[in-house]
């Protein structure tokens, strides 16, 4: 009796093990197929190799539709000088959301040099300011703009 019970238990354990092994191989098989279909593995990849954006391993400075993909800055003369000098401390998002004339961009750079540890930009100073006033100039909003980009939806009560 005892021996039979023991055999029974052993059999059950073996079945569990086999089921486990089969499910594991099915899961890993599916994962393999997923990897083949989606080698860049955009979601998981960023967790696995921290700090390395897998998209940029193709070309870190590639341009798509006139936009420098990595930073979101507009393509144009002086772009790389801006990328290399203006996105070390803060994100390019801070540049992109601002609109200033030459004097204001200049004084902003000067403020960063005086108080925020920005280095001397040398010959790049003019290149950078030219880029900024060309692609990120002030836009007139007058005393109040109208509502823009209204997303209409039916309100059910």
């Amino acid at each position: 009796m005892i021996r039979e019970e023991w055999l029974n238990r052993l059999f059950k354990r073996l079945t569990h093990l086999i089921i486990g092994a089969i499910s594991l191989s099915v899961v890993s098989g599916l994962l393999m197929i997923y990897l083949i279909l989606n080698p860049s593995l955009s979601l998981v990849g960023s967790n696995l190799q921290k700090g390395k954006d897998p998209k940029t391993t193709i070309d870190p400075d590639r341009i798509e539709n006139g936009i420098h993909v990595r930073t979101g800055l507009v393509e144009g003369k002086g772009l790389m000088a801006v990328v290399n000098n203006c996105t070390n401390c803060h994100s390019a998002k801070l540049v992109i959301q601002n609109r200033m004339n030459r004097e204001k961009w200049n004084s902003t750079i000067q403020w960063m040099q005086e108080t925020q540890n920005l280095w001397d930009l040398g010959k790049n100073h003019e290149v950078i300011v030219n880029y900024l006033v060309t692609y990120y100039p002030p836009q007139s909003k007058k005393r109040r703009e109208g509502l823009k980009e209204i997303e209409w939806y039916v309100l059910e009560d």
């Binding site: 960023s46 954006d53 401390c89 803060h90 994100s91 998002k93 801070l94 959301q97 601002n98 609109r99 200033m100 004339n101 204001k104 902003t108 403020w111 108080t115 925020q116 540890n117 920005l118 002030p138 836009q139 007139s140 909003k141 007058k142 005393r143 109040r144 703009e145 509502l147 209204i150 997303e151 209409w152 939806y153 039916v154 309100l155 009560d157």
Partner: protein, 369 residues
């Protein structure tokens, strides 16, 4: 902390707008702020530096120092929690630059639209009780906070921000050293484990990750107290006018303002021509005395129902039932008036170099079909 998914990282609603990811600056939309008490998921984040890592609450200390303290004194978090009475207040915190995006000519900085305001419950001890325990001198005029966030340049000798408030504001009942937000430990992005909360004043006065408060016998001169930061011209100036630093004054209480949080802008009413609107209004150190709406661009104004605040410095809720006269396009404009008789302007208020204090009326688009 510069992870690409801020919504997951900070527990934010994915309709929030990321203005900047280094440093993190994220704002809400009006309809996300519909709750009476703002949940973390809809709270704006405004950071000047890098969010600290590896915080050890067991060994956290708060030091009270400065010229106007008899002798420097330190407290552990445990000391604060066990030796002093705890209070909970619902406090409105609005970024000084909320609405900056509307100024013309544009002002530099994060281009906040309307979502840099929240009103959560904060639990902690009164700064006053701590300062009394630490014994401050009669010549105290200002408090200045220090936190452990890192300067963007990585320079350890620089503080990203170290602001403060006049001692009178620091000694108010509602000025807290908080360790809880909405009944839980403060989320990291909002200042865990200890945050100074000074409701009604620019959010920058409510220092995060605070480990030191200096009691000063002069106006605090920490980072972003001087120059143009969190200051407006002492006298009104023309749009775009150059203003000297000496002619700029520190912002204190924020102006009266309101938000329509329901419905979301863009609502089409198909059968009914009646619309229930609701939202919040606040006037910082003062109370909102009345609330009105207009559906004809200010030609006529109608009263809203307005509730009292749950405590001083909390926002107030308003509501109204609007009957539209005919089919067509409308805008609902909301206007709050404070206890001093000051109302929100319909146009963008006086221009200032850094684009602060835009309290222009909020409005939503409605179509009746």
């Amino acid at each position: 902390m510069q992870d690409p998914d801020p919504f997951q990282l900070f527990g934010k609603n994915n309709e929030m707008s990321v203005l900047n990811d280094k440093p993190w600056n994220i704002e809400a939309k009006a309809h996300l702020l519909d709750d009476a008490v703002t949940p973390n998921s809809s709270m704006f984040i405004r950071n000047n530096g890098i969010i600290p890592k590896n915080i050890d609450p067991q060994n956290w200390t708060l030091t009270i120092d400065g010229e106007s303290v008899i002798s420097k004194k330190s407290y552990s978090l445990e000391d604060l929690k066990t030796k002093f009475k705890q209070y909970t207040y619902q406090l409105t915190i609005e970024c000084g630059g909320n609405g900056r995006s509307e100024y013309d000519p544009p002002a530099k900085g994060n281009q906040w639209t309307i979502g840099a305001v929240h009103c959560a419950n904060w639990t902690g001890v009164r700064l006053r009780d701590i300062l009394e325990d630490a014994e401050i001198k009669e010549d105290a005029v200002y408090t200045g906070f220090h936190g452990i966030d890192q300067h963007l340049s990585g320079d350890p000798s620089k503080e990203p921000i170290s602001r403060g408030c006049p001692i009178e504001k620091g000694l108010q009942d509602e000025t807290l050293l908080a360790f809880q937000m909405n009944g839980k430990a403060i989320p990291l992005a909002h200042g865990y484990p200890l945050r100074l909360v000074a409701g009604g004043w620019p959010g920058s006065v409510s220092g995060k990750w605070v480990n030191r408060i200096s009691v000063r016998n002069v106006v605090h001169d920490g980072a972003k107290m001087k120059g143009m930061a969190y200051r407006v011209p002492c006298k009104p100036v023309a749009p775009g006018e150059k203003v000297n630093e000496d002619d700029m004054c520190i912002i204190e209480s924020m102006p009266v303002k309101s938000l329509i949080t329901y419905p979301k802008s863009g609502a089409i009413l198909k059968k009914s021509k009646t619309l229930n609107i609701r939202g919040h209004a606040w006037a910082s150190e003062y109370e909102v005395a009345s609330m009105a709406y207009s559906i004809d661009f200010g030609a006529t104004w109608h009263k809203c129902l307005l509730e009292k605040p749950v405590n001083r410095l909390a926002w107030q809720h308003f509501s109204a039932k609007i009957d539209f006269p005919a089919e067509g396009y409308y805008e609902v404009w909301a206007k709050a008036t404070d206890s001093n008789g000051l109302s929100q302007p319909m146009v963008v208020p006086g221009w200032n170099p850094k684009g602060y204090l835009n309290n222009a009326c909020h409005r939503i688009a409605i179509k009746i079909m």
